[in-house]
């Protein structure tokens, strides 16, 4: 009984310790962000590997998610003779929820895992220690540019996802199923509000980008410096980011749209 309690206590302390280390690490990153202003090229290279290389998966998934929304929405709405509202269904689902959330999940899988593996491997091969030996701060040189790049890329990726999804819904709804093109756009423009929906979607994607990149760089930096440790850290990045994004999505949605 005592042993079981001790085990529980140890686990709890471990969780809190990691949380604390994560926040201290975040504070260090934020403190070293201003030094990036003098070396923007570091960030640009990272935006390429984090953002540009994620573009293909975001474009393809966005298109297919939009097309599926178009099909499913049409099948439901046609029963009520309200298939003209298809544009509203597609655009609101994408802009409010699916765009930020699915883009963040894909981002965690495509870019977050790569960030963790890269930083973890740098730690395992003692490159980070080597930098410290040469009086180069690895947080300024390695971590901060990656963090900033992910933070900047995520809202852009989510916006691209939503826009492509709306086109996919248009393609299926108007092109294949015969919804009136003007009704698709006019109802969409009538119901989708710039402040209420689009700004809130962008805010969501900014928050998700922040959290996803933070988790990715922290897990990489905190990984046990062995092959197994890096592989575990990569898995943890994807799992924790998915959980954090979905939980935060509920909180943000409740704050933005719900009268809870």
């Amino acid at each position: 009984m005592i042993g079981w309690l001790q085990q529980l206590g140890r686990t709890g302390l471990g969780v809190f310790e990691r949380l604390g280390r994560g926040h201290l690490f975040l504070a260090q990153i934020l403190a070293s962000l201003p030094s990036l202003l003098t070396r923007p090229r570091l960030v640009i290279v990272q935006v390429h590997s984090v953002g540009v290389l994620s573009l293909v998966i975001i474009l393809v998934s966005g298109l297919f998610v939009g097309m599926v929304l178009g099909l499913q929405g049409y099948n439901t709405l046609v029963d009520f003779g309200a298939e003209e509202s298809l544009g509203v269904v597609v655009a609101l689902s994408l802009v409010r929820e699916l765009g930020p959330v699915v883009a963040a999940l894909l981002f965690a899988g495509r870019a977050g895992s790569a960030l963790t593996a890269e930083i973890g491997l740098m730690k395992a091969t003692e490159q980070l220690s080597g930098m410290e030996m040469m009086a180069v701060d690895p947080i300024k040189r390695v971590i901060a540019p990656r963090f900033l790049a992910g933070f900047l890329s995520m809202p852009l990726l989510a916006a691209i996802f939503s826009a492509v999804g709306v086109m996919g819904g248009y393609f299926v709804g108007v092109g294949l199923l015969g919804v009136d093109s003007g009704a698709y756009w006019s109802q969409m423009q009538d119901k989708v509000d710039l402040h209420e929906d689009i700004y809130n979607g962008v805010i969501k994607s900014i928050v998700f980008g922040f959290v996803a990149t933070w988790i990715a760089v922290f897990e990489g930096h905190d990984a046990v410096p062995t092959a197994e440790g890096v592989s575990r850290a990569t898995t943890r990045t994807v799992v924790h980011t998915a959980l954090a994004v979905l939980a935060l999505d509920f909180v943000l949605t409740a704050l933005m749209f719900g009268e809870v």
């Binding site: 540009v52 009520f80 298939e83 003209e84 802009v95 916006a159 939503s162 689009i198």
Partner: protein, 162 residues
């Protein structure tokens, strides 16, 4: 150096695509813009009540879409809604006594204007006004009228029984 340049170009394209997507979402998806670039001529119709008609709603004849509503204004003197609609140039042979009605597509669907051509010799031109109009059906009004007629029917039969 070429690699750096390729990376920078890639990042530039990515940022531009992201901003363009935001722009599309703001302009095309949301209610920020309601511009129409349809080529055609404009005719005006006055309605007592346009119901849920919106700018860019379809204008159709016999179920075929011939144009779109381009503007809905309110006339302060006659207290009527002034609907401007843009009709495609290929449909330029409507008689002047064409009538316009506002219908609903399906039970919950979008409202649209249905034109019914008359028999006059002369043809509607840009800026002309459609004289014969019928307002949108407002469900509450219909239910109200129905209840009213039912009630009066009930009192009538009650009276005749005596």
């Amino acid at each position: 150096m070429d690699r750096i340049r390729a990376i920078e170009v890639g990042v530039g394209l990515f940022v531009a695509a992201g901003l363009a997507a935001l722009f599309v979402l703001a302009m095309q998806v949301s209610n920020l813009s309601a511009m129409s670039n349809d080529q055609g001529y404009e005719v005006v119709a006055r309605f007592e009540n346009v119901g849920g008609l919106k700018v860019r709603s379809p204008v159709s004849v016999g179920g075929v879409r011939v144009g779109r509503v381009s503007a809905i204004d309110f006339d302060n003197e006659t207290f009527e809604a002034v609907v401007r609609m843009n009709i495609g140039n290929q449909y330029a042979a409507f008689p002047t006594d064409t009538s316009a009605r506002i219908f609903t597509a399906g039970l919950l669907g979008e409202q649209y204007i249905a034109l019914e051509p008359g028999g006059a010799e002369e043809v509607l031109k840009a800026g002309d006004q459609i004289q014969l109009t019928q307002s949108a059906l407002v469900l509450e009004q219909i239910i109200g009228q129905f209840l009213f007629s039912k009630a009066s029917e009930g009192s009538n039969t009650g009276g005749s029984d005596k």
